[in-house]
Symmetry: C3
Subunit: 310 residues, 3 copies
């Protein structure tokens, strides 16, 4: 398989092909083995990753800088860029020009939708989108894809239900878009009426002839789905009034989980607040604290290797 | 000697044995030689340390991430976690579950007493307590133990005087508890009346039959002690009113130091504000800027090696 | 050539000799080749650089920690020291004493003029000034020197024009001082009347018999200069009133650039706000986003190597 990710930006799932996904899947599985065997190796020695985070992050930031180091590379760890460079009023394209001279790859999170893809145009090194406002979070969607495929061995005929505040949730935006590569998949989207999936995403799914449907309740769907994808209410992207109207409306507990198939899985890309009761953690279908979480390291290791090595 | 620290949490000095201390002492001395000889080596290659600090730190944070790198390991350096993940409302157990997937060891500071030991219960990798509110700071106590033992060759019959705001000072809490392993030691605790040693610590010392006494003045004790341990008034843990009532009440200057024995030592784990006059720095008994400070690196290197390698 | 920089502080350009500059120039060119060939090497393995930034920075902070890692060394990356240690009221000399025990070199930025040189007196390892208030920024001046010399092959007979808010701009302070090592150079300083070059710098230039002149306009000078050095209005160091009176008064656009010689160069050490129109970026004379920026990595790699290796 050709490595078409080499030296390329990853700002949207839009750019990914089935070949890319096969490559990433194989690479991620090999990274899992590498970490288990010896923690990492030195294949990215002499390379530097700049992690420029203009919004808070723990998982994404930490897994990227860990991935880089587990492969022998160095890091520019800037978890609170909003407190530093912005103070001086520099434009994002200039910031990206600067890090192009220091680093071999830039991973960036920013509150403005499309800011990362705009900035990437001024970059001389690959730029990875680690979340741009309510728009996309492509690496999370890839992690979710790898996790589902690893669990079910295949992905083609699954029924995937995403629930919660899909209006402001970039990982599900990216995942829904990514899944259009698999036309036999059924996607159900259940949201409170106040926070439906964004119009652009709906348009995207329609154009790609995705097999999807929108709902405002979800419990009836539970017995037939393979994947339950739960999301957090993105308080930071909404008014207080809206937050209080949707908060706590979609909560998964053991009783609901019991309606699900035995070999189905429950996903959440974390952090979670109150949308999953703690009692659900121990259910064997729950993989948000095990496979899905661990894959956030292996997949990002795989992506860095693919993007930085021929 | 068996390495009983391997793969274990270090959340309180309570869990330490005399065998552990012997092991740590020997390891710390060997680390001192390693740093002098070649700066470090690669024994922790492929391992990652997550440093999650929910409270400001310079020494503890910096010495841990330095230690890890001097042994060839990688780091997740998060000195201001309070500005990042907490913003999203994640629980500490969830945070610890996440870092268990990325890192091989977690070192955590947090303002809530016992928060680190509670969090450790959800961890799948060893957790080191880097200070949990006014409760404990076990690695500092170990550093102090190693420093005293290195200086006097033995520790058994010493008289150790701790002075200042012992009500809110976690390093002296941990040190007083640790010293109960040595029943022949004499421990004197001198505090302003407003800030006595915490009741739990007193109970602990009583239960272990420690040879200790409380005082509200300390100058008369100076001629007979071997170790003078000075503490900082922990402004951040008290009301303004209390602060102003104790502030500046325990200040060590050259005149007081002159009452001490020639081969005694003066310790402080820093930062200091005004509790030690600058003139004391040059006194040969002062080791807070030399041995004690340098040991904060060597001992933490030793601990990481013991916890992370069989 | 003897390496007189080994194990030495670099707090002002004042301490540099022509021999030092030759050495740094040669070393920087070799670093450029090293990065192009293999990204870096392991020559500083076992060494640690503490980057203590009490003021926001992107370029200086990031290029230093990148440089250290590209040479195999470790880092203590503290981009927001103002949020951490200062909270406890420690003095800067004590902070520097602490990092002397952990790191092999300290690079420090601080808002107070001369704070870094004062702190260096208490350090037991080399201290590099990464900007001390409105005083100096020696490594930036060295980068600029290397960039000019690389471009023109020599530096002796050039005419260098610096424009803008020179009252608060530490890189031009350092560069003007550094250039006094080359008596044949012509230095022109054009500023708004409100923000002239500081009296101390002027005195320094006079004492060294530098060939310099002050102006309040600059367009007439454009046809005869070799180097145009543009500066940012340092908003953070002035009153709002002063800021609004000088803001936008010195803006370089294509029309002005067209008055310049074909083989002249345009420099700016970034970040820029509005003082260079974007249209100027594509002009072949503009090197602020290419050579000058890239040299901020190569020169700092060279400096670390010279300061840390015999």
């Amino acid at each position: 398989m050709t490595n078409s990710l080499f030296n390329r930006h990853l700002v949207s799932v839009d750019s990914l092909t089935l070949n890319d996904l096969d490559l990433i899947f194989a690479k991620s599985i090999s990274m899992k083995k590498l970490v288990a065997d010896k923690g990492g190796d030195e294949r990215l020695k002499g390379k530097i990753l700049a992690a420029l985070f203009f919004e808070p992050s723990t998982r994404t930031f930490s897994s990227f800088i860990t991935s880089m180091q587990r492969l022998g590379g160095g890091i520019i760890p800037l978890p609170t860029m909003n407190f530093t460079s912005i103070a001086k009023g520099e434009t994002l394209p200039d910031t990206v020009r600067v890090y192009s001279k220091y680093a071999d790859c830039i991973v960036m999170r920013h509150p403005e939708p499309f800011s990362v893809s705009t900035a990437a145009k001024s970059a001389q090194v690959p730029v990875i989108n680690a979340g741009d406002g309510i728009n996309e979070h492509p690496t999370q969607a890839i992690i979710d894809y790898v996790t589902i495929r690893e669990k079910f061995k295949k992905i083609e005929n699954l029924h995937i239900l995403m629930i919660g505040d899909l209006a402001h949730y970039r990982p599900t935006n990216s995942l829904a878009k990514l899944l259009t590569l698999f036309p036999e998949i059924t996607v159900s989207l259940a949201t409170p009426v106040q926070t439906p999936i964004p119009a652009e995403i709906k348009d995207y799914l329609l154009k790609r002839k995705a097999n999807f449907k929108e709902y405002n309740g979800f419990s009836k769907l539970l017995p037939e789905i393979d994947v339950l994808y739960i999301t957090r209410v993105k308080k930071e992207y909404m008014t207080d009034k809206l937050y209080h109207s949707v908060k706590g409306s979609y909560i998964i507990n053991a009783k609901l989980v019991n309606k699900m198939k035995k070999n189905s899985i429950i996903m959440h890309c974390l952090p979670r607040i109150d949308e999953i009761a703690m009692e659900v953690d121990a259910d064997p279908r729950s993989i948000y604290l095990s496979n899905q979480l661990a894959n956030s390291l292996y997949v990002r290791m795989g992506l860095l290797d693919l993007i930085l090595r021929k």
